[in-house]
Symmetry: none
Subunit: 200 residues, 4 copies
DNA sequence: AATGAATGAGAGTTCATTCAT
DNA sequence: GATGAATGAACTCTCATTCAT
């Protein structure tokens, strides 16, 4: 009986991932998931008490790991450790990706309307913070300050959007990592140089 | 009577822009727009014959200008003119932004489910093309080829997403233009150098 | 001013006749009539207090003449005069047709949903009565009775439906009259003979 | 559960037949059908995916049989077989009537606005064709031609309208058949004689 | 545990009618 | 007298959720 239950749950999970991945949280329909997973609408509600609960069960742990990693630095001064913290986040993302590539893609690309729609914003804000603090630290060493915050926010936003696309369109962990690191290199390293020389 | 009608139309337009801006095309409701603009559901249908027609009236001309500009180069060889074509597109966007900043923000950020949802993709594809052709032209001069296409797609995608955020969050034309040009500089110029030296 | 009023009223009347003639009472829309007659919805309600009232004004007099003619015989024994009463009804119809061919066509063919939708039924019942009494009179002279009522009802119904089609599709009074009389001849005279000989 | 479902479906079907029978396709409302069949609006859409689909399920097979029978002769020369083809159509109608008297009545009398509204016209055209070819064949044997087409159309129209009324008002198959054959006899046989002698 | 029928709120849309101007 | 904007009820249809079986 337990076996049967797990088998049904797996079917629901798999088809729900497909449905959410294709149509997004709001556009997905419980009816559609039930149909495709060869079970009944009512039975889905035996396993998950609502559409939101189902989404939470699929995406929640990925969200929690990601956001949990970020949140732990909320009240912490980073200074010269900022950059390494960020590279650790990439490691974290890669671990999540290697175990749950579909879920992380859905979390980033299809969460509109769900309780996780703020995820990308949290990520962007964190990236912005890391980047800002990195630069501030480097400039402070040279006794200088930098002005613009928004351009860093934009770069961070771009990075996050790109990561979202990468995890959606590429499925090989090695390639995904290479692409992400490439982008960080392009977006951040170059910009630090640029900011350094041009005082944007 | 005339001014009354215009006043109501303005209220509808303003509240519709708010509603679409907050909830996106699909999430917005005619009922909600009617309520907030202090008129009746039926009356909105005096002004616009459907939800789609309302959206079209708000966003259509902005879409047409933007996509029209891009489409004119569909069958045209660009070669060394690629970059200037792109800068002219920025000029076009800035003109649109100066007249219709809210609309262009909605077009980019909230068109999912509408007839304009392909807009960002068109823009990304065009940016990818411009960037690819620019690089190919420069490399061909030196007798070299470049390999990776996806990274350029990601950069282009990032640029477009960033522009979407810029027009959403900033309302001063001068600043918007500066930010966009900054990003192009960061994203494209630097990357060309990078690609040039590292053979990505 | 009076002249102006009449001109508008005429436009409304003409376009309303077209609209009712094309779409039927229920399918016709006040908005459509207003649009085509180059006036406003509200103004139509200055002349007619409702859609029903408008229909009444267009079709009522034709209905009243027709039904009035029929009703006058409600409590009257007809006996041997039955047939001539019916031919007089045809004369009445022809007079109406010659003055108001459009209206009589609408009355017969497009009154569903209106207060006049019973018109054809009244007409059919009257034709049935006339026919029944004519036959009964003829048979009683020979000391016989006839049985079936429904077949006469059907013939009468057919006659009325045919007249409805004739006034809809033919516009020349002479031809209309010839066709109607032809049908009466076919439907009635022959059937009397048939009933006479076969005791249906 | 199964019997419950069937019971509800039956209630919906019965009440839908009543509603369509009383108000016609356009006039009938899903709300009304839901209310009268003691279920909810939404539940009707569990059984039928649209108003049109409901109507199709009720009336479609009857329409298909009838129109299918007629359509098979579209490209076929009939000559002296014309009359027997028509009598076979009557047999077909009687079979349909014996199984689905309500449905055939609705098809003929209440299909305006639905996809089946052309049914009576198809039937009339077929009857007109049969009648015309029968007469032409008979006259050609005697080396004569006949002139009027419209009167045959009217007779055919009358016949079809009468059949529509018969199936609406009579429910005994034997009587329905007798009435239809009686009418064909009256309408066609007599008229052939008439046309024969009088050159209408 | 499983079913899927049933619900009900809310979506977009239409239209006769009213009423302030 | 004329306007047409405004109303509101009714329409078809969808969907997450509940519940009797």
């Amino acid at each position: 009986m337990q076996y049967l239950k797990d088998e049904v749950r797996n079917r629901i999970v798999n088809e729900a991932l497909k449905e959410f991945g294709e149509k997004g949280y709001s556009g997905a329909s419980i009816r559609g998931i039930a149909g495709k997973s060869n079970t009944s609408i009512g039975n889905i509600y035996k396993y998950y008490k609502s559409k939101e609960d189902l989404y939470e069960n699929l995406i929640g742990s990925v969200y929690d790991r990601l956001v949990g990693y970020i949140k732990q630095f909320d009240e912490v001064e980073l200074n010269e450790k900022a950059q390494s913290v960020f590279y650790k986040l990439v490691e974290e993302i890669m671990e999540i990706f290697n175990e749950n590539s579909t879920e992380i893609s859905i979390l980033f690309n299809q969460s509109k309307g769900s309780k996780y729609e703020n995820c990308k914003r949290i990520f962007v804000n964190f990236a912005t913070r890391i980047f800002t603090e990195t630069i501030q630290y480097q400039l402070s060493v040279k006794g200088r300050r930098f002005k613009d915050n928004f351009i860093i926010y934009l770069i961070s936003y771009s990075l996050v959007e790109s990561i979202a696309i990468i995890v959606k369109e590429r499925h090989d962990g090695v390639e995904v990592k290479r692409l992400i690191l490439n982008l960080i290199d392009i977006f951040y390293t170059d910009i630090i140089n640029k900011l350094d020389s041009e005082d944007i």
